[in-house]
């Protein structure tokens, strides 16, 4: 989709293995739900069209579900005109060289860990 926001997640790996990182068009977002006091799971329609969806399970600061959802909504809907970077929801990879690419933000700081599961 033209001018679509693309949402980026990366765990603490080196972006060199499956599920180290993933990017979704914002339009494939299905929703998010709390699963305990420090976990919020984001679901996206699976790329392969499987019956189940892709799941980004994020460890967050305790009781910050609302704040994380609010920040996600702001990031996912921000205007992209005249920019060429995609939107970093959370990038926990601190080891990449500075010339690795256009990722220039850590995203939502209340997210401290994540597990990416694709259907």
């Amino acid at each position: 989709m033209e001018n679509e926001n693309y949402l980026f997640f990366a765990d603490g790996g080196d972006n060199d293995q499956a599920n180290d990182a993933i990017m979704f068009p914002a339009s494939r977002f299905h929703g998010a739900v709390s699963t305990d006091n420090t976990t919020l799971e984001f679901f996206f329609k699976d790329a392969a069209g499987a019956n189940s969806n892709d799941d980004i399970s994020c460890t967050i600061t305790a009781d910050k579900h609302e704040a994380v959802c609010n920040e996600f909504a702001s990031l996912a809907t921000r205007t992209k005109t005249n920019t060429n970077n995609f939107t970093v929801i959370s990038d926990l990879n601190g080891g990449l060289p500075s010339n690795e690419g256009p990722i220039s933000a850590v995203g939502i700081t209340a997210i401290t860990a994540m597990t990416i599961t694709t259907a």
């Binding site: 699963t35 305990d36 019956n51 189940s52 609302e66």
Partner: protein, 234 residues
């Protein structure tokens, strides 16, 4: 621009129960809180509490000296007025909003007795449960995933969304509100969908942070709670 609808249950919250002699009689030799007397948590928006992840703590304030408590609590003997925080993993269970505490002693099934972390309650003890955000207590869905909004009763409206986990199915929020507000609710949702981006989530109901927050468009609908039913548990 996409909008995101947000639902959050009433957390944090706490409720206390003063144990009666009838409770003690009914609970003899079984998990305390089962049988014919329940410690049933109520008044938190209508949805059942079914997960221990929703419990932040359970404390017991002893009405008097009690030596029928787990060995991990003051060496197995508490004194009047002593407040003990129970071990959530071993001694506390929750289902259908009903809180159960394993006793430390008794002649019932050994599976229901925990000599280390159980607590045998007596009449006059005060049990206080504090709830936190936990399994399925808050959720956010894009408006584009909203499939339908249908009345269920004069004071109840169902929001059907594309399921988070399973394609081809729906997740539902059954929202409790003032009688006769269905049309006002669907009008408000339509206005939210068509309106300007607010730069964040739209709160259909937010019971967090000790108060109730509702989007201005829905503020006159008397929304008081909701029951969340995702297709599959997480």
């Amino acid at each position: 621009m996409e909008k995101y609808l947000y639902f959050r249950k009433f957390r944090p919250a706490s409720q206390s129960f003063t144990i009666t002699s009838t409770n003690v009689t009914n609970w003899a030799n079984i998990d305390q809180g089962s049988a014919t007397s329940f410690m049933e948590i109520t008044g938190l928006g209508g949805d059942d509490i079914d997960s221990e992840t929703e419990i932040a703590s359970v404390t017991v304030t002893a009405v008097g000296d009690n030596s029928n408590v787990g060995s991990n609590y003051s060496g197995g003997a508490v004194v009047a007025g002593e407040v003990v925080t129970l071990d959530l993993g071993d001694a506390v269970d929750i289902a259908n909003s009903r809180l159960r505490i394993e006793p430390a002693s008794g002649t019932g099934s050994g599976a229901n007795i925990d000599t280390a972390n159980g607590y045998t309650l007596v009449a006059g003890d005060i049990v206080t449960v504090t709830l936190q955000q936990g399994l399925e207590t808050c959720a956010m869905y894009p408006v584009s995933g909203l499939m339908s909004v249908t009345p269920a009763a004069t004071g109840s409206t169902v929001f059907n969304f594309k399921s988070l986990k399973a394609n081809g199915t729906i997740d539902t929020f059954t929202v409790a509100h003032a009688d006769g507000k269905y049309e006002e609710i669907v009008n408000a949702i339509n206005a939210i969908q068509m309106g300007k981006d607010k730069g964040g989530i739209v709160k259909v109901i937010d019971g967090g942070e000790g108060g109730l927050v509702i989007d201005a468009g829905l503020a006159g609908c008397g929304i008081t709670g909701f029951v969340y039913a995702p297709t599959a548990s997480y």
